[in-house]
Subunit: 255 residues, 2 copies
């Protein structure tokens, strides 16, 4: 099965490598950024183009991993109506392909992908959607080659999953960032936070996040909270953010 | 070495069990809540009291794991001036003991402790402080029996570490909670978030939190952000919280 990738960012890079390892023939990578297109093309032994006119129209599958803003502009330019068209976006509707393809759908991996960090696709939950039963079966067959964790989700559910991933990953990572800024202030190495970070992540496999909560916010310990707010006073809008998160922890727990 | 625990909450429970396993003789647990005092006392084969007047004054070490509000009220009532007095608070000064003891200090484990969840003390960073060199040596000897990760930190550094732990643990856990609420709305099991949560936590051992960041906020992708804000509109103050966290991610990354 010949695959063309539209986009060469983090998701495209990891997904194309994973598909390539499973025997899919990634024939071409398109990206408007030549460096990205070329780097990824080399990894998967494909050719590449930065010009949508030069796109290989003979592939079986087109996978779009570009920003939600760019995707609707690119779809009409691809012009390979008989192939299977899939995007990997958490928040865009499948209907972005409507009128431009017969078989289309969504292939959304619920995971965070960074450059220079390998991921094991076999445990990544894949949320699939297809425009009809036949298409869904085809998408499922592709997904099962990569992962043991396959689900079908319509666009509304997928949007909720995407938002939940923003909280559980992007915002979590930013809380790590803020913790790291404070640790840097003390002169201790960032590593002093690792056991805490690990335990916090592992704990919720046994306890629910609700039962796992500890610290001053859940007790509404104003002594500690007010001292923390004073420490954050001149740091961007962190005091306001701290107050809102504390308030929400208490709102959830006092119920 | 005879140890008395003042407090029977999560920190006291885990620390007393760990010390007991390392050969310390936990002789008594004090808590105003009889159920907590009794439960912990049974675990470490100690006696217990809910009446500070009945406190065993013959111990070598008194460890205070109570809320920051209660600790200053209890210190004057303990009345064992020749023993070593330690509290486990991240934010209270060591000086809370001044005038009531000759040897005193702080024994702050940078970890989250929950009921019904065992932790391995050997990897927990312990931040120590003592009122003189002799006392610091004694505290260090105790700490080294429990953990390989020992640091000395004054009260100001410890307060920063405590605040960093609020971000990296309590607030992280709340982001898990918010993610879990959204996943529950979709009908999928919470487990679909586990690979993402694990990868997010593991990733920062290799990449810094700064380099690990992904998602709409770091790209300031207003399409996605505005859709997410609309989804959160009627949920407590979550839209305001989302906006502040997104804004801070972008503020840190656009620099």
């Amino acid at each position: 099965m010949k695959v063309v990738f539209i986009g060469a960012g983090n998701v495209a890079s990891h997904l194309s490598v994973a598909l390539s390892q499973k025997g899919f023939d990634v024939v071409q990578v398109f990206s408007r950024t030549e460096f990205s297109a070329k780097s990824l093309a080399e990894k998967v032994e494909a050719n590449y183009t930065t010009d949508i006119v030069q796109l290989d129209r003979s592939a079986d599958i087109y996978i779009y991993s570009v920003s939600d803003r760019v995707l609707p502009e690119l779809v009409p330019l691809v012009n390979a109506p008989d192939a299977l068209h899939l995007h990997t976006s958490g928040s865009l509707s499948m209907d972005v392909f409507k009128g431009y393809a017969v078989h289309y759908g969504v292939f959304y991996p619920l995971q965070t992908f960074s450059k220079n960090r390998a991921v094991d696709f076999s445990s990544i939950p894949l949320f699939l959607e297809g425009n009809n039963q036949l298409t869904e079966n085809r998408i499922k067959d592709i997904a099962l080659k990569l992962s043991d964790s396959i689900y079908f989700a319509d666009s509304e559910k997928r949007r909720k999953l995407h938002l939940s991933a923003v909280f559980a990953c992007n915002f979590v990572n930013h809380m790590y960032e803020l913790g790291a800024e404070l640790v840097a202030d003390t002169g201790f190495p960032l590593e002093v936070l690792f056991p805490l970070i690990e335990e916090t992540a592992w704990k919720i496999k046994e306890l629910s996040p609700y039962d796992a909560q500890t610290g001053p916010a859940v007790r509404n310990d104003r002594n500690v909270i007010d001292r923390h707010l004073a420490m954050l006073e001149h740091k961007r809008k962190l005091a306001a953010m701290y107050e809102l998160i504390c308030g929400d922890i208490y709102a959830v727990h006092k119920k």
